[in-house]
Amino acid sequence: MKRIYLDYNATTPVRPEVLEALLPYYRDQFGNPSSVHWAGRQVAGAVEKAREQVAALINCSPAEIVFVSCGTEADNAALKGTVDALKAKGNHIITTAVEHPAVLETCRYLEKTGCRVTYLPVDADGMLDLDELERAITPETILISVMWANNETGTIFPIEQIGAIARRHGVRFHTDAVQAVGKLAIDVQQCNVDLLAISAHKLGAPKGVGVLYVRRGTRLTQFMHGGHQERNRRAGTHNVAGIVGLGKACELALAERETHAGRVRELRDRLERGIFEKIPNVKLNGHPTERLPNTLNVSFAWIEGESLLLNLDMKGIAASSGSACTSGSLEPSHVLGAMCVEVTLAHSSTRFSLGPDTTGEDVDYVLEVLPPIVQRLRDMSPLYNCRQQESCAGCETLKKL
């Protein structure tokens, strides 16, 4: 069976160059970078090289890069570390209703500990109202946390403008850039970002590594306590191979991002056009233009995204209905909910996210396989079959679900 991977926003394959670069650190380069002897020294150099490679990609100084275990840890450390470090200043956080759970759930936890959190709504395209953001700022506000790009819809937030607002009000600015790094040009100076989260496995490096960029002079209470690694900012032995891999992936991204983005955007647009041409009653979720070049989130009216994903999987196509949850089960999307997408349409949403290995043939195969599946599921759907009727108790019930 054909295997077509269109879920690059969930994770990406490790790029061959990255694997090549990191393998020695699973073999003879086994030292602990904190050791003083030859074994440690060699490895410490590799970690520092990776730090430079990451810094170059987002335009910061290597000293501002803290290696952590994943994007979620970076977000947790940024939020909890800020709240603790700035508790004398205030306790108010501004974020959005469409953040990744790494931010949203951390905010909910912080609310329980006494923080006040403003969750900014988004419009039907998933976009923020910047005036509303600015109005939400109070003297108590210690942090604005807005994701660079949304993982489900690909909508890109105006990070440079938000950074300018944050600077104007002297409020710290964190951005979860997990979906943006490697796909968009990232410049923390230009955008006045103070804290930024990266996840290695979203850009062709292995799982188990992340980065928290911390602007020099940003006071942050330590999240992991233990040894003195990462200039006392993050305890725990370095995941050396993972860090080396991330460094290599960042170097590749810096060199190839624009070319890849152009190619991927072309394929994504072809998929988008094809779907809208071949299948009636499809809705695009996310901003029509301000959107990650690789992401396409669409709702197929009257069918369940869950069923569609299972059927696509049976045909070898890996897609997603939004963010993958640990259990592998699907929950109604909080992102589409915040965009006021009708509940039945939110349930039928499907995300295709393309990557550098995606080919035109992959897109054509999807365009060949998808329409008959959608039609078959629609034919079986109680909603579809009674859509002509004026009122139907079953539909009303399902709509309310």
Binding site: E306, S307, S327, S329, M380, L401
Partner: protein, 379 residues
């Protein structure tokens, strides 16, 4: 056993020995097996007072257990999320029943509304030929129609929970373990070296893992709403209680009333917020109404003799079933029975075959639950 070779079979998997062996045996026979697990209840919603976490039927643990078994079998495995539907159909009905003086059986409803409607639809959407579960029961085809029979292992028979099945459902639903004993199933698990989870055979309600359903109900609907009087069948008020839903028919303990003879709950009148108690003879009921009847045979026009089971662990008793209307029958037991409980299922058997069943609607004492009008007159 019918052949499943070359057929696509969706198996409802929990990670326990029964559904795992069912999936393994189907695969062994050459079926193309797909495992599905229903996620129906978010256990983050439920924390015991001591903060302990729970794992019973359909919890997240089950999802991991089932995934592990599917991995071992090398079959595709998916989790389907029915949390919203479960809350809407099963949990709401559970609470409604208790607040209407009934003692519900959520497992039947879950089978009816989730497994054999929603999950069956998922199976059809996956172009499956069959949906199989690990129930101990049998679906057989006699040439003209499908029949539901007891599982061969009398101690494990689960046909009671399956009386809502329709001909259309039975065309697709199969119970591969129905012809086996639990011992044989365990032997298969050992032979196949299945890494099944050792799970307690729980009689608990899966969404109330600590068994404290009173707390659950009061969290859902509020406390104190049905506090009222404990009344003797003679009409004499004997005391007070803190919620009719704390009581079930036949209950003896927890009444806290001094009385020359042991007292039992013989009726619950949620409308009047009354718990009706009486001496043991008052428990015996010889006839009662059953509604929402589903016939697994051609719907009978007149009375018929059958054996009637009034709860899961009950030895069915000869009875006459009299037709009241298309949905309702009156069951007249040959011998009076204790513990005829509104909200429980009454299932009708002819030999090993389930011929029909429905919900016990009204016992000897108290009003028709859920229709709280002329109740007190019956006292």
């Amino acid at each position: 056993m019918e052949s499943f070779a070359g057929k696509r079979v969706v198996v409802a998997m929990s990670g326990g020995v029964d559904s795992s062996v069912a999936a393994a045996l189907l695969k062994e026979q050459g079926a193309e097996v797909i495992g599905l697990t229903m996620q129906i209840w978010d256990y983050r919603n439920f924390t015991a007072p001591d903060g302990q976490h729970f794992g019973t039927c359909c919890s997240l643990d089950d999802v991991y257990d089932a995934r592990r078994v599917a991995e071992q079998l090398g079959i595709p495995f998916y989790v389907v999320n029915f949390e919203a539907e479960f809350a809407k159909t099963v949990i709401d009905a559970f609470c409604d029943d208790y607040f209407n003086g009934r003692t519900p059986n959520p497992c039947v409803l879950c089978n009816q509304k989730l497994k054999f409607e929603l999950l069956l639809r998922r199976a059809k959407e996956l172009e499956a030929d069959f949906l199989a579960t690990g129930h101990y029961a049998q679906v057989v085809h006699d040439g003209t129609r499908y029949a539901l029979r007891k599982g061969v292992d009398a101690a494990k028979d689960q046909s009671y929970f399956l009386f809502t099945l329709t001909q259309e459902q039975m065309a697709m639903v199969r119970f591969p373990l129905g012809g086996m004993t639990k011992e044989e199933v365990r032997a298969h698990a050992a032979r196949l070296n299945l890494r099944v989870a050792e799970k307690a055979e729980s009689q608990d309600i899966c969404f109330v893992p600590d068994g404290d359903y009173v707390r659950f109900l009061e969290e859902q609907r509020g406390a104190g709403l049905l506090d009222g009087e404990i009344v003797h069948v003679s009409g004499r008020v004997l005391g007070r209680h803190h919620g009719t839903y704390r009581y079930t028919i036949g209950q003896r303990r927890g009444l806290g009333i001094a009385w020359p003879e042991p007292l039992f709950v013989v009726g619950i009148d949620a409308g009047q917020k009354r718990v009706i108690v009486g001496e043991k003879p008052h428990l015996a009921v010889s006839e009662f109404l059953v509604d929402e009847v589903n016939w697994l045979i051609a719907a009978p026009a007149g009375p018929l003799d059958a054996a009637c089971r009034i709860r899961y662990r009950h030895q069915e008793i000869p009875a006459q079933i009299r037709i009241v209307d298309a949905d309702t029958v009156r069951v007249v037991m040959k011998e009076p029975q204790d513990g005829v409980t509104p909200g429980q299922a009454a299932v009708f058997y002819r030999g090993d075959e389930v011929i029909g069943g429905g919900w016990i609607d009204v016992g000897a004492h108290g009003p028709r639950p859920g229709r709280m009008t002329a109740g007190a007159a019956k006292l």
